[in-house]
Amino acid sequence: MKPYLTLTAIFSVTAALALTMDRRIARAGEWLPPVAQKMGNWTARETPMDKNTLAILGRPRTLARAYANGKGATVNMSVIAANGLDAYHEPAICAAGSGFQKVDEQTVPVGGVGTYTDIRMMAFRRGPQRVVMCYWTQTRDGKIESDQSFMQTQGLDRLSARRPTWAALFAGRQTCVMHVYEVIPPADKTGQAACRHVLEISRGIYDSLRRG
């Protein structure tokens, strides 16, 4: 009987530690602040995510909308309250799964005096289809993560891809993950108009989260 009791003790300690970690990480997904329904000329329409997408993301709390400016342009957005690593799907990897290749990337400014920061703007192409997207993560205390840490593949750098979960686990940090994108219409040859639209909505979301 003694060997079984020894194993029971080891597994009980492991289970207790595991459950404590799970609780701290799940707590990180409890912050989903309100986002403005109207941003300038843009008006929102709710577009809830489908069950399959929510399952892939780990069933987090989400906010998904389509903003229209009344002139035919539509910008889609999603705010995901990250309750685990599954919520942080790097767009360049996910888009590639649908056949889209990243063709351009730059950083763009958001925020105002005292809150100025940069987020990533990417352009994707699949045949004749083009999409422009802004992607970043924002914590409750205002910290932005927008670099390509999730794409790290070499050695210790891969650990940096786990920064959000380490932050949730040890510092109790709560984070939201933002995707803001527009399918570039054929008439917008350079994509400049779509970039402006996406940036406008991204700035609105950034400000909403800072207030929330």
Partner: protein, 311 residues
């Protein structure tokens, strides 16, 4: 003349070809008769099993989400523990002869158990599903080592190593392979269609035919056929106790067959779509099932034991 020399020599009877169905029936019958007694004799296992299942609850939930996701390439993985158990059952005569030694070696053999628990906790902290499932297999191996000894662990090495195929691949690796196969199979299907007289243009994962466009999405990359075919082939070979010399080439052939079937699947949908686009959409799933079944059948030919013909 002695009676010994007067008896004509006979060729020895060939060993009967193992029949998996008969083995399964025999196993079920034995489980029914001896199962309750065996469970009562080993009920002490329930004590450590309960907290272990608690620690594995969330990782199993993550695995389940992956396994039941539509078109999941790893949906075969819940069958792997059953297949591993079958491999262990096939070795029951060897296992019955192994003497039980508890707490043998340094730390009584608990090193593997601790390693498995560390992997489990790292998996919870990093939310990487691969780590806790790997930890679970290591914990199982460590528990066998601790409770039954080194010799028993060696005797169960094949089923335990096979059990590693339950561990989901990291998303990055799976995504990379899926994308590569997607592009490769699209190119391959384009070549097949060209050789069959169907003019086409390939752009990424799109094949443009006359009046029909094929979008080779991730579920059509071939990964959903490749993985289960390889696992099934490996299992059949291990059941036959085949060595590495037979296993490696057989797996390579199985992989080629699986990918070839996928390319032919895409090409056949393209050919049908050129003539009848609506029918191609309607029959997309049945065509996929047909080619998948063909991939399993052809691959298993290389893994089945040879039929011994009676003189």
């Amino acid at each position: 003349m002695s009676s010994l020399t007067s008896t004509p020599l006979r060729r020895p009877e060939p060993a009967p070809t193992p029949d998996p169905l008969a083995e399964a029936k025999s196993a079920l019958a034995q489980i029914k008769t001896r199962g309750p007694t065996w469970l009562r004799a080993h009920r002490a296992w329930l004590l450590p099993l309960a907290p272990l299942l608690l620690a594995l609850w969330l990782p199993l939930h993550w695995c389940w989400n992956r396994w039941v996701a539509p078109d999941s390439p790893q949906s075969y993985q819940p069958l792997v523990p059953l297949a591993a158990a079958w491999l262990a059952w096939a070795r029951r005569d060897t296992l019955a002869r192994v003497p039980r030694v508890v707490g043998e070696g340094v730390f009584g053999g608990l090193g593997l158990v601790f390693l498995g628990c560390v992997l489990l906790l790292l998996g919870h902290a990093s939310q990487l599903v691969t780590l806790p499932m790997l930890g679970a297999v290591v914990v199982l191996a460590g528990t066998v080592r601790y409770l039954y000894g080194r010799t028993m662990l060696r005797a169960l090495a094949v089923p335990l190593l096979f059990l590693l195929l339950t561990v989901p691949l990291p998303d990055r690796i799976l995504g990379g392979w899926t994308q590569s196969l997607q592009m490769g199979c699209t190119q391959g299907a384009g070549h097949v269609l060209s050789n069959l007289g169907y003019e086409n243009a390939v752009a990424g994962n799109l094949i443009f035919l006359h009046g029909f466009q094929l979008d080779v999405i991730a579920p059509c990359s071939g990964v959903s056929i490749l993985f289960p075919v390889i696992v099934m082939t490996l299992w059949l070979l291990l059941l036959r106790r085949a060595g590495p010399v037979k296993i490696i080439p057989a797996l390579a052939i199985a992989a080629v067959i699986a990918l070839l079937m996928n390319v032919l699947r895409i090409a056949s949908i393209g050919m049908l779509g050129t003539a009848h686009p609506r029918l191609a959409h309607t029959l997309h799933d049945p065509i996929s099932w047909l080619w998948t079944a063909l991939a399993f059948e052809v691959s298993s030919l290389f893994a089945r034991p040879p039929k011994v013909s009676r003189p």
